[in-house]
């Protein structure tokens, strides 16, 4: 997160922070472990009232920005979500709302998403050899005035809680996005198990799912640019949330090291431990800096936005994972128990690390972008 937020944004951050502290404290997260949806509908509606769902939506459609930079606003919320390991479909709801607003379509659903009374999600990921970087196996065929969908998407966040799924697939050589009601015939959800206490994922299978032509979002066969745009937003959210989780884990571990005594002195007085904290602090600050730079580059539609996003996603995934595992190590056995809160942040980071491209996927993508840039020079 930026070192300094303007006062409106800081107020927004504080409001979210306070709300999450009150409504989603660790004992509530533990309780939600056993719930089907992972979040309460009322919690999400109240969050929507705070502005969580409107940040990628145009003013004409009821949205708005606080700082003037929508992605900065959203990354501040995402950072707080990471810092509380908060429940709720933050990424999917915002990305779908943003997409509907951008295309000016399906405004009734958009209004419900804004109000938090409905949830929608985005189905992008598939298994290898496909990748979120534009390679999809799911087929969206045109048949008269209908679309016919065949294929499988996984993992899809909060699919079971959604009324609609924004599905990205291929139509011939191009990409298409359609809004599919979850109740459609031929669509099946298989709930998945996962590491996060409150994030729920499903395998979504499409077997000759037929939906009317008006469910398209954008233009048939010409969705590549929109998909890339959504992917960038998704990566900005994941990065900011992961850095929030890193910060929370780091803070509680530093406090622990100062309070915990061994051999008559605080853990924090041992140089062997101090030096590890110094490295962790450098990874943490570099994570903040990269996450913010990438968000700014996406907002500015800068040429290096994709490079920065992949640099951030791979760095935050790799070093954030190391940081949180170091936090476990420095806690000792207690850090591996369910009773301690540290795992809440390790869970959230681990989930995000694996979504929308692993660190290795993003390193390779980054290398390809750098090589392409060098070849073009």
């Amino acid at each position: 997160m930026l070192l300094q937020l303007d006062s409106d944004l800081e107020f927004f951050r504080e409001t979210t922070d306070r709300f999450l502290s009150e409504k989603a404290p660790p004992h509530e997260l533990r309780r939600l472990r056993d719930s089907d949806s992972g979040f309460e509908a009322n919690f999400w509606r109240q969050g929507a009232d705070l502005g969580w769902t409107s940040l990628l939506v145009d003013e004409a459609h009821g949205g708005g920005s606080i700082s003037g930079d929508r992605l900065v606003d959203l990354s501040v919320v995402a950072h707080e979500f990471g810092g509380h390991a908060a429940p709720g479909p933050l990424g999917p709801s915002n990305i779908v709302a943003g997409a509907l607003s951008r295309h000016g379509q399906h405004l009734e659903l958009l209004a419900d998403l804004l109000a938090g009374s409905a949830v929608a999600t985005w189905a992008i990921s598939e298994t290898v050899p496909h990748s979120p970087f534009g390679s999809f196996g799911l087929e969206i065929a045109v048949d008269g005035d209908e679309f016919v969908l065949n294929g499988t998407k996984r993992p899809v966040e909060s699919a079971a809680e959604s009324t609609h799924i924004l599905v990205t697939g291929r139509t011939g050589g191009g990409l298409t996005q359609v809004l599919v009601p979850v109740a459609s015939r031929g669509l099946t959800l298989r709930p998945m198990s996962g590491v996060d206490l409150t994030r729920r994922f499903s395998v979504v299978e499409f077997a000759d799912v037929r939906i009317p032509a008006e469910m398209v979002v954008g233009a048939v066969g010409h969705a590549r640019e929109a998909v890339e745009h959504q992917l960038r937003q998704g990566l900005v959210i994941l990065n900011a949330e992961s850095v929030g989780a890193m910060q929370a884990g780091f803070d509680m571990t530093l406090e622990w090291a100062i309070d915990r005594y061994s051999f008559g002195r605080p853990l924090a007085s041992y140089q062997a431990i101090k030096h590890r904290f110094a490295d962790m602090k450098s990874w943490l600050e570099a994570g903040h800096a990269l996450s913010d730079n990438a968000a700014a580059a996406v907002s500015a539609e800068a040429d290096d936005a994709d490079e920065l996003l992949s640099a951030a996603k791979s760095f935050i995934g790799e070093f954030g994972g190391e940081l949180l595992q170091e936090c476990v190590q420095l806690h000792g056995g207690i850090g591996l128990t369910f009773e301690h809160d540290l795992h809440l942040f390790l869970r959230r980071h681990t989930t995000n690390r694996a979504l929308l491209g692993t660190p290795a996927d993003h390193r390779r993508r980054l290398a390809e972008l750098v090589i392409a840039r060098e070849n073009a020079a």
Binding site: L3, L254, K274, H275, F277, K281, L290, E307, S314, F315
Partner: protein, 419 residues
Amino acid sequence: MTAKLEDPESFRERAREFVIANLRPSSGSKLVGILRDERTDEEELAEVAREREIQRGLFEAQLAGVCVPKAYGGQGLTPAHQAVLNDELIGREYPMRLQSPTFAPCLSVLLEFGSEEQKLRHIPAILKGEEIWMQFLSEPSGGSDVAGALTTAIRDGDEWILNGSKVWTTGAWWSDWGLCLARTNWDVPKHRGLTVFMLPIDREGVEVHRIEMLNGSKEFCQEFLTDVRVPDSDRIGGVDDGWTVGTRWMFHERMGTNSPLTTQPKGGALSGPDALPMVSIAGDADVLDDRRALDLIGEAESLAAADRALRGRLGDGIAAGTISDQASAIGRLFAGRVAIRTTTIGMDLAGAAAAAWAEDDESLVEIGHDYLMRQVSCIGGGTTEMAANVVSERVLGMPRERTLDRDVAFRDVPRSPSH
């Protein structure tokens, strides 16, 4: 009375005009390597002379010392103007050797602690390229324990007599002045008996010895000071108050090329690593289509991007006062880690050519020596261990290390097992 500052765009036009008319294109994203032994002494001296000439040109074009007050020959402008100049210098030669340590930390220390007379005598000369400065800081007895300096200055009337040895001065053999930390009192704890002086390197009693590094480079020097006389007017700061100067000196050193007093092309060799040399190495090693090579190139670029982003965050935060000056140690620590990993990546991409190369191996030449010299990045300019101490103790507030030299007279501090 505040004069109106020059508009950055008109400054840009002036800078561009100068750059196009006077500066040759540079070789782009070529891997600079680590202290490579690539030039003869004659070539090195010719490059130093050229850099002095460029600096003189910048001075005459009123582009030198952008953030240095006008009273001392600078332009009295802002870091934003310096950033404009750096931007205009992209792809051009520039006075690289004059930036560190002459502008930062030496000029920074002069500006902060020098007397009016000292500033007027030296800062314009530095801006004209007439004085290249070195740090007489580290000693053979210990690099990290800077305040444990053994070089001694004894007062003799209006003069001081210096004896001792300083080491790791880059290019002292072609430099002009040294900023020197010396012990003036052995009967008080170590931080309270130090004083800072300046002295010309060609002064009688200063012997400059060039150190040969394992790769053949002879850029580092060691100086032997034998009864070197320094007038009291060349003392910077108070007698025995050298640590007040020294802590800021080391802050300016850690700021390095983040300092608004330094000039370098934006994205240039001194502003952090970049993965493009890795692409060249992978290309010359013919492994560009190898998945493992792509992973390494991506790793190098993600680390480089993290390093650049972190520099920006720390630089902005320190400038705005939202984080403490000590946070610059976070950047130093991280940059060291990134540099050594990047060097290893280069080595792994080069394959067997890292062990033995032919002269036509292009970017693969000398990669093996870079790897042997790898740890320079974690040693030079203050070790990463010292940076880790600063981060943990000064930034994170963890307890200070217990030391045996804090509250005793320096002459009683153990300096060897036999003490």
